[in-house]
């Protein structure tokens, strides 16, 4: 890494990316994508910038979820875009309480998504029942799908949702989740979840 004296007299590294310096940016991107990195790192890098959550609105936390992508908080700057079709997404944000009927929809949505896929559980209800902890009609989401990140709060503020997406990005890049999952076909850092209850009535003979 060389250095030169800038116009201000302060020594700056030459190959730092500046906004607007298109030549440096292009060269850095080429080095990043083709030069030094393995393909797996590129996959991880690409996955972190295209975490598209499926809009699975199960409960009142959905209001905060919507606010996260509104202009004020603008979670789209992290490369995340709420999308309607589960087959083109790779992230579920469980927005609050999951009732027994909705658990089936949650599991079907999860099964439909292509690998590598991730789950964020949002709100006290998705952690351990929250307000409805003694209700007869709810399930804990971690009994239905494997959860990567939990967001506490009732409801969690939009900043917390954005923070969870950043945290998930860090986790993917540090543990190389996406590329290892694609190469090995398995995720080693957690167990797969088989639903505790027969949520969709598929196990019946």
């Amino acid at each position: 890494m060389g250095s030169r004296l800038g116009g201000t007299g302060v020594e700056e590294p030459v190959d730092r990316v500046y906004v607007g310096n298109i030549n440096v940016t292009a060269r850095r991107a080429r080095e990043l994508l083709l030069g030094k990195l393995k393909l797996g790192d590129v996959i991880d890098w690409a996955t972190t910038f295209s975490l598209w959550p499926v809009h699975l609105l199960t409960s009142c936390c959905g209001a905060e979820f919507a606010a996260t992508w509104s202009p004020r908080f603008d979670a789209e700057q992290y490369g995340a875009l709420p999308w309607v079709a589960p087959r083109q997404t790779n992230l579920i944000i469980i927005e609050g309480t999951v009732t027994r009927k909705m658990a089936c929809a949650l599991r079907i949505t999860y099964e439909q998504m292509p690998h590598p896929k991730f789950v964020i559980a949002m709100g006290a209800c998705a952690l351990d029942g929250g307000l409805f902890y003694n209700s007869y009609n709810i399930v804990r989401p971690w009994e239905v799908v494997p959860v990567d990140i939990y967001i506490p709060g009732c409801p969690p503020p939009p900043e917390a949702v954005a923070r969870a997406i950043i945290e998930l990005r860090r986790k993917i890049r540090e543990k190389k989740l996406a590329s290892r999952w694609l190469v090995e076909g398995w995720r080693h850092d957690r167990e797969p979840v088989k639903p505790v209850d027969d949520v969709c009535k598929w196990w019946r003979p």
Binding site: T99, R100, K101, Y133, N134, S135, Y136, N137
Partner: protein, 164 residues
């Protein structure tokens, strides 16, 4: 039209069908026999009560009865829109069966399904009597009846002795 006149109107229309009419602030409760409920509902509809606001049920385990109440009101007649009329039926707790009022008020269809799943009240003549919000196994437990026990609040560990 004030409340007394509405009550007189209802009393005149229902005649002997009404076993009991109770008036509270803006609310008139009419109790009829389970056999007469469709006739009474038809007469109320002819009077101008054109929609059902809610269908609900109350469980009285000590008296061994379930009271199903239809709250009806009017959109089209201004004078009747100020009151809510409760059309109530007392059913036995062991075998709660009554005639469905979907034929009279179409808006009661989904709400009768809810009463069916939460209290086990069977509505004869309902076009589509299935559980609405619960899964079928839960609906069999009749979860809103008083003898269904849910886990206690976290402050107590169980019910204190003096409340048992």
């Amino acid at each position: 039209m004030n409340l007394e006149e509405v009550v007189e109107l209802i009393r005149g229309a229902l005649g002997d069908l009404a076993k009991e009419i109770t008036v509270r602030k803006g609310y008139v409760e009419v109790v009829v026999n389970p056999g007469d409920v469709v006739t009474a509902a038809t007469k109320l509809k002819e009077l101008g009560f054109d929609h059902v606001k809610s269908v609900t049920a109350v469980d009285y385990p000590k008296e061994s009865r379930i009271r199903v109440t239809y709250h009806v009101s009017s959109y089209l007649r201004d004078d009747l829109a100020r009151v809510i009329v409760g059309l109530s039926v007392d059913l036995s707790r062991e075998n709660p069966v009554m005639d469905s009022l979907v034929g009279v008020w179409r808006s009661s269809e989904f709400q009768e399904r809810e009463v069916y799943e939460f209290f086990g009240v069977v509505f004869k003549g309902h076009p589509d009597l299935r559980p609405l919000l619960l899964i079928p196994e839960l609906a069999e437990k009749r979860v809103l009846r008083k003898d269904f026990i849910v886990r206690e609040e976290s402050i107590y560990e169980g019910v204190p002795h003096r409340y048992q």
